[in-house]
Symmetry: C2
Subunit: 234 residues, 2 copies
């Protein structure tokens, strides 16, 4: 398990697709299903998350191991197993996206007081849309990884969010809410009962953000973990 | 999510398949994949668990809703989605089980000081084996429901145990360990990284049992839950 590291509450509310804004004060956002081509970016995002959480000693993922386990040769349908939504950002509007059998990308935009300085721009440039088509770079700003869980009391599936992450320079803009909402909308569309995740008890900013989103924090439950090293005793 | 309600540490260690024991002091156990025919028993087990946990107000499952969600029309392969192992008990040895593509039932036995009085014997009689074949009733004693989860730090799937439950009259005999071991063995066989579940912090017997099984209890993580009623704010 890795942590949820969301931004605090948004300072500006997301609005729907305005026209292109040459001042650079409108940041256009797109949520889409990740593919195996996105693995190098996903790997770097998970690494940044491990650094943020001071858990780098637990980080063992490689681009190869992520590709093999998240995008196996015989994949299950989207949303029935491990699923990654990628958050892409651009200062030009994204082109309209054709309807998709499984998931139609979600387009939104946010207003910025000043354009954002992104020191990782080169490293997180998305190859999904050619810059010459859009007239602007597309930058990967974050991701959410989730999969189905199940409540026996409800007799319903839900989604469990393993990771939700927004890169540091893009935090406090409402992008965490856009990512979380995308998972919740998908759960609602599928008639699921709950969306759950975990948070570190010292991460008070995240807890406050989640509570403002309407989440309950369950105080009594503790996670139990058996790892490979302990399996021989059974 | 519903709770794990395991028995405390076993007082007698499981041993491998002895001969039939006419004294009734040997309880033979079988772990097998549940099927849709087991749903009435699974429903009653979940109901007993809700009573045990004083969470009956959260119990909404019906046999129909369980059947639709656990055994859908187009099921995914076992272990890639919601999976139920059923624990069956008999005072006569189970017949040998043919190799199965997905899972070969696990046969064990435990020694009892005295035979167990089971007040729910009628209600929990398994129909999987005819009594005239075995020479003894087969009784459903418990279950475990689990599904895959994923660690981005390990880049590996694992299993998450949603429920593990042994009926009250069969507790303190090592049957919880037999159920948990079955999940752990399956995880090991599939090369998975971890098996995880949650426990209520006041359930000190369960916590002690899990720690003796080699599990870590993670003190810092808290569960966050968004339910349907809160989704409209997003």
């Amino acid at each position: 398990m890795a942590a949820a590291a969301p931004p605090p509450p948004p300072t500006s509310a997301p609005v729907t697709l305005p026209e292109s804004d040459p001042s650079g004060n409108t940041l256009f956002t797109r949520i889409r299903l990740a593919t195996v081509d996105d693995v190098p970016h996903i790997h770097k995002l998970i690494h940044e998350m491990a650094v943020f959480e001071h858990l780098i000693h637990l980080f063992e993922a490689t681009p190869e191991s992520l590709a093999n386990t998240l995008f196996p040769e015989n994949p299950l349908p989207p949303f029935s197993s491990f699923t990654v939504f990628l958050l892409e950002l651009s200062y030009m509007p994204f082109p309209p996206t054709p309807q998709n059998e499984h998931f139609t990308p979600i387009l939104k935009s946010i207003h910025l007081d000043v354009p954002i300085e992104d020191p990782g721009r080169e490293m997180f440039r998305s190859k999904a849309i050619d810059v010459s088509v859009l007239g602007s770079d597309v930058i990967v700003g974050g991701f959410v990884l989730f999969f189905p869980n199940y409540s026996t009391f409800l007799a319903k599936p839900g989604f469990y969010i393993e990771d939700i992450f927004v890169r540091e320079c893009y935090r406090r803009k409402g992008l965490g809410k856009i990512l979380l909402s995308a998972v919740v909308s998908q759960a609602a569309k599928m008639g699921y009962g709950r969306v759950e995740w975990v948070v570190l008890d010292w991460n008070v900013n995240a807890i406050k953000f989640y509570e403002q989103m309407g989440a309950q924090i369950l105080p009594e439950w503790r996670i139990c973990r058996l790892t490979g090293v302990a399996w021989n005793i059974l």
